[in-house]
């Protein structure tokens, strides 16, 4: 129902010189439609806090009486308070960035891709704009979660001003990588329509490899090396590790460069897959 209104508003906007306004408008619409499910997101916030509480209990238990434990990959020793701050922030970041099924897959599954194709704007860009709207809608819940997470989990201020600046840059790039990845997986919908299965698998791999459930520094060597060559660590581990001062100097620049590289690679990949996907469009419903 909302897209009827949206369509009317959009025609005016597309006539203008910039399509950016249209994408902003699409994001805005998706922001408000997402907020209609605020009770669900509130429940999700509660579950996230329980998850963080579990992490805190488990890590505190295995640290036992030790003040710090040596981490792998050149991060030095990791104190319990830093570890708890990591798991809290990582869980929170992953939750905000991965709110559910990919927008693109949802549009294909519901047959709304037909409308998207008819609009004088990029289909992939529209889906990404929608995804940004969803994330924006989650920010108030994230703020609420953060408030309680400092109590049930742990929290630490950024180790330095440099770390904070690095974090801000890294978190923006991390979000772009996440968007590109989930859109890429969502594009599978053009081939198999129902992508809930693949989405679950993607989410699992992403959750483990991004460092959302455990930091790379405590992973077994083979898993850590695998995580390093995959794009997922750029979505969660990188910004949080920078914030906590575990990636500094040369490592920090390398991590940021890696993120940039993934943005480029995924953009190219997305473009290639999209060109093939376009030939396979099936419109569901009527």
């Amino acid at each position: 129902m909302s897209h009827v209104v949206a369509g009317r508003e959009l025609t005016g906007l597309f006539a203008g010189p910039s399509r950016l306004a249209a994408y902003v408008e699409l994001a805005r619409i998706r922001f408000w439609t997402t907020l209609t499910y605020r009770i669900d997101y509130l429940c999700g916030t509660g579950v996230l806090l329980l998850q963080i509480f579990l992490f805190r209990v488990v890590w505190s238990s295995v640290y036992a009486d030790r003040a710090a434990v040596e981490g792998a990959g050149g991060v030095g020793s990791v104190g319990l308070s830093v570890q708890l701050a990591y798991v809290t922030l990582a869980a929170l970041h992953f939750w905000v960035f991965n709110p559910g099924p990919s927008e693109l897959a949802r549009r294909v599954y519901e047959g709304k891709i037909a409308i998207d194709l008819a609009r004088p704007a990029g289909v992939v860009q529209q889906a990404i704009a929608g995804q940004v709207g969803v994330t924006a809608a989650m920010l108030p819940f994230a703020a609420l979660a953060l408030l309680f997470a400092t109590v049930v989990g742990g929290m630490a201020p950024p180790t330095s001003i440099g770390a904070f600046v690095g974090y801000v840059v890294a978190v923006c790039m991390a979000y772009v990588v996440t968007l590109l990845l989930s859109t890429l997986v969502g594009m599978m919908a053009f081939w198999i329509l129902e992508v809930s299965g693949p989405m679950l698998i993607y989410r699992t791999v992403a959750q483990v490899m991004s460092g959302a459930i455990a930091p790379l520094w405590f992973m077994p060597d083979w898993l850590r090396q695998l995580a390093h060559v995959l794009p997922f660590q750029a979505t969660t581990y990188t910004p949080v590790a920078i914030y906590l001062g575990k990636l500094t100097g040369e490592d920090l620049w390398l991590a940021l460069a890696t993120q940039g590289l993934w943005v480029l690679v995924l953009c190219v990949l997305l473009r290639l897959v999209w060109m093939r996907a376009l030939r396979r469009v099936v419109i569901q419903g009527g």
Partner: protein
């Protein structure tokens, strides 16, 4: 579980057994029909089953990472933690296999699908549970049981007939504990119409906490997990019994020995609650 009123007349009690047999027989007939319907979508089915395993795999990965790095959690080594996790996953698979259609309860009540169940000569709950099958739950069941067999070989337990019998009962009993909690929440749909939120939270609470040696939690939390949300009975207590670790429980060992029975008791209580709530059903029907 007979469909008629619980009359005490001798004639009725003589009828109760054949009626139960008939109900069980019809349960399988209807389930077979639902299965044949679902088998039409094979590719997605396979991917969903895989997705189900992957979803449950996140928690297992976390356990593996922690145990690999720190040797144990709360004194439970790799094999024991894996066994505990598998026991819980097997129980989860049992509940899902038997009761997965409960996830549609809101829709069934709101759209008056329940009307249909009331006019047919079979227990409405049985009709509801056989209205379809979700083969993705096979992923949980197969994954859980496969892991359970592997972990059972790894742990240091003398597998006598009694021990194996206890294990089988524990898996089924654990599944029934989860099922009874979900059945109680689902029954509220007759009054509240919307139970998705609480049912998902209930599911998540079991997913998050049940596969851990609960001794790592503060004592108050342990007691809550035993008497408020009975999740300690799902896997932790039976596993502690089989592994000879009942000394660490927050409650006397007898509770743990009796864990497999609790599921049966709770499901009967939950069913009575369900029956009571069905009285408040008002058809939205047209």
């Amino acid at each position: 579980m007979s469909s008629g009123s619980p009359s005490v007349a001798p004639a009725a009690s003589r009828l109760a057994v054949p009626r139960l047999v008939r109900t069980v027989r019809l349960y399988f007939v209807l389930l077979g029909a639902a299965l044949r319907a679902q088998a039409q979508y094979r590719a997605n089915l396979f991917l969903l089953a895989l997705g189900g395993i992957a979803y449950q795999g996140v928690g297992f990965c976390f356990l593996l990472i922690v145990v690999e790095r720190f040797g144990s959690i709360g004194g439970w080594g790799f094999a024991e933690v894996a066994f505990l996790y598998a026991l819980r996953l097997g129980a989860h698979g049992v509940w899902l296999c038997l009761f997965n259609q409960l996830i549609h309860i809101d829709q069934i009540v709101r759209e008056a699908e329940y009307d249909r169940y009331l006019v047919r000569p079979l227990n409405p709950l049985v009709q509801l549970l056989t209205r379809g099958v979700s083969l993705s739950v096979l992923g949980d069941l197969i994954g859980g049981l496969g892991l359970l067999v592997a972990a059972s070989i790894l742990v240091d337990v003398d597998w006598s007939v009694v021990a194996i019998g206890y294990l089988v009962l524990a898996v089924v009993g654990g599944g029934l504990v989860e099922a009874s909690v979900q059945l109680v929440f689902a029954a509220l749909a007759f009054r509240l119409l919307s139970t998705d939120g609480i049912r998902y939270i209930g599911d998540d609470v079991f997913n998050i906490f049940a596969p851990y040696p609960l001794k790592i939690f503060p004592r108050v939390v342990q007691l809550c997990m035993t008497f408020v949300v009975p999740l300690a009975f799902v896997a932790y207590m039976p596993a502690a019994t089989l592994l000879g670790r009942t000394g660490e429980l927050a409650v006397p060992a007898e509770f743990a020995y009796a864990a497999p029975v609790l599921g049966g008791v709770l499901i009967i209580a939950a069913y009575r609650f369900w029956r009571y709530q069905t009285r408040f059903y008002t058809s939205s029907g047209s």
